[in-house]
């Protein structure tokens, strides 16, 4: 579904990503784990077009994403949940969801989608008229996921959904990801919380200072000595 080949990205003279190749197949949950500054977010931003690559290719369902404007990517049914809960704080929960359905012009369809999201996240329904900035961290993350689902994506890019959340909420969020996946949405998950990410993923890539060092089946990686030592604190 998504194939990245020999991708290199730099910020000025600093090379952030060196020749990274990875692949996400239809129906998988793939996680990309790594420490702070390894370049995980850079890869996601390059996929969505927020950052331009130096070389390499990104193919999504046969379309080259490199020449695309970030706002066009969502029309290919790929939704991005940005890092750090990028919601619209001064807009209400409903307005946030409506912005997520920006590319849908049909009003009834938007209403229908909204209903689905509220069914999945009853907490958001309770707070539908509330300003998004006044929600708790976990609710904001739910809203960010809900907003991404408004466009009926086939693939979801999640950037550090566990960031700044309590362990209990992290569990909730990962359950949500699992549920979303069950409905047939492919997920590319970028995480620092390697333990949680590996537990729900099919496959994983480990990113270290811009290079992919380890890759394989998520269960195997959970028992991999190097991964254990570096990321799982065991």
């Amino acid at each position: 579904m998504l194939t990245i080949k020999d991708l290199s990205v730099s910020y000025g003279a600093i090379h952030a990503i060196h020749n990274v190749s990875m692949e996400v197949k239809d129906g998988e949950i793939v996680s990309l784990i790594g420490a702070n500054g390894a370049g995980k977010t850079t890869i996601l931003h390059t996929i969505t077009g927020l950052k331009k690559a130096n070389s390499g290719s990104i193919l999504y369902d046969g379309t080259d994403l490199q020449k695309m404007d970030p706002s066009k990517i969502i029309q290919l049914k790929m939704a991005h949940v940005p890092e750090g809960r990028h919601i619209f704080p001064d807009m209400t929960v409903v307005e946030n969801l409506e912005m997520g359905a920006f590319i849908i012009k049909n009003k009834d369809e938007i209403k229908q989608k909204e209903k689905e999201i509220f069914e999945r996240f009853p907490r958001l329904k309770e707070r539908r008229k509330q300003l998004a900035g006044t929600l708790s961290g976990g609710e904001q993350q739910m809203l960010a996921v809900g907003r991404a689902l408004m466009s009926s994506p086939k693939m979801l890019l999640m950037d550090e959904p566990s960031m700044g959340l309590s362990p209990l909420l992290v569990k909730d969020i990962f359950n949500i990801i699992k549920e979303v996946h069950k409905q047939g949405i492919t997920v590319l998950l970028v995480e620092q919380n390697a333990n949680m990410a590996l537990a729900i993923s099919d496959r994983a890539y480990v990113l270290e200072t811009g290079n992919i060092t380890i890759t394989g089946n998520a269960r195997e990686l959970l028992n991999d000595e190097r991964v254990k030592k570096a990321y799982l604190g065991q």
Partner: protein, 343 residues
């Protein structure tokens, strides 16, 4: 996507009718004051202040679209105003003898002024809106200076001397309604899907882009609309002053508009109306101190920043409908209280 074609809910219709009556009442009051000669010899003078207030309202409200709703600073609004002023003046000078009634000539001037400024807005906006915050502010200052220097050197704009002899087409009654129409359109823009999209970009451009919003397009669109109304304001200015010099549209003038936006409340169009009205009437009312105007502005600005950081109105919109509703509710309450007393 014409906002006029959207089916209006009943409540909205009622609110529109109430506001139209409100505006009409103000207009009739002003007509009464001016026509009854109640002010005697000062009528023309007061009328002039009101005209100034009207085009200042258009300028400040249009700048508020940028600062309040898009969240970007522009310090070159007077530049767009001068584009509108000069282009419309050139066109009316060419058309003046051709027998077109004054009213239509004035409309043509407004439209030409608006479109000329809007085109400049697109030209400046496409490269400049890749920048954000302070950098954009610097570019807009530079733009206004370039325009000013260019107009100082073009022959058609008077070669740096005063361009005079422009037909006096602006009269208060027309200008008042032009202002009402402009503010209404801006208000509808802010309340529309476009307006909400622009607000989303202000709040988080990464999330906006991820939701499928073409950030650059909407930014340039807002910038262009803002420039259009600045051009309309400039056209009114040119045909009211009948003479102008490029140095009128200097940095201080742009800064004045920005001050008024901030004092009125960035994000509130009604705040802009109040801010522009008071701050354009104030220096006239205190004529003898008029050279201290900028000093007074800065003091007011500091005070506002200390006591009301969001401006006098903040993002609050003054609503006639809401006040009427509250009044009606009170009257009803009163009546039922009376009934209870009697029974």
């Amino acid at each position: 996507m014409n906002p006029l074609n959207i089916k209006m809910p009943k409540e909205k219709k009622v609110s529109y009718v109430i506001n139209i009556f409100g505006v009409l009442a103000i207009f009739l009051l002003l007509v009464l004051v001016f026509e009854s000669n109640f002010l005697g010899g000062r009528t023309t003078y007061i009328k002039g202040i009101c005209t100034t207030a009207c085009y200042t309202i258009i300028m400040v409200a249009s700048l508020n679209l940028l600062t309040g709703f898009m969240g970007e600073f522009s310090l070159g609004h007077a530049g767009f105003m001068s584009v509108g002023a000069y282009s419309s003046a050139i066109v009316t000078n060419a058309l003046i003898g051709s027998g077109i009634p004054n009213f239509f000539l004035f409309l043509i001037a407004l439209i030409i002024g608006g479109f000329a400024a809007a085109l400049t807005g697109i030209a400046v906006g496409i490269p400049a809106l890749r920048l954000r915050g302070d950098y954009l502010a610097i570019v807009t200052v530079a733009f206004a200076e370039i325009i000013r220097v260019a107009f100082c050197n073009f022959e058609v704009t008077g070669n740096g001397k005063t361009m005079s002899g422009i037909a006096r087409l602006s009269n208060f009654y027309w200008v008042f309604w032009v202002m009402v129409v402009c503010v209404t359109i801006m208000y509808m823009f802010v309340r529309s899907r476009f307006g909400r999209t622009v607000k989303a970009i202000r709040e988080d451009y990464i999330a906006a882009a991820a939701s499928g919003i073409n950030v650059t397009f909407y930014k340039v669109l807002t910038f262009t609309i803002s420039a259009f109304f600045a051009g309309v304001g400039g056209a009114i200015y040119a045909h009211y002053m009948t003479a102008m010099i490029p140095t009128n549209f200097n940095f201080m003038y742009s800064a004045e508009f920005l001050t008024q936006v901030i004092i009125g409340g960035s994000g509130s169009l009604t705040g802009s109306i109040i801010g522009a009205t008071f701050l354009s009437a104030l220096p006239e009312a205190m004529r003898q101190f008029s050279q201290y105007r900028m000093l007074a502005y800065s003091i007011v600005l500091v005070l506002v920043m200390i006591f009301r950081p969001g401006g006098i109105f903040g993002t609050y919109e003054f609503s006639l409908t809401r006040i009427l509703k509250k009044l009606l509710a009170k009257i009803k309450q009163h009546k039922s209280d009376d009934k209870e007393k009697h029974s």
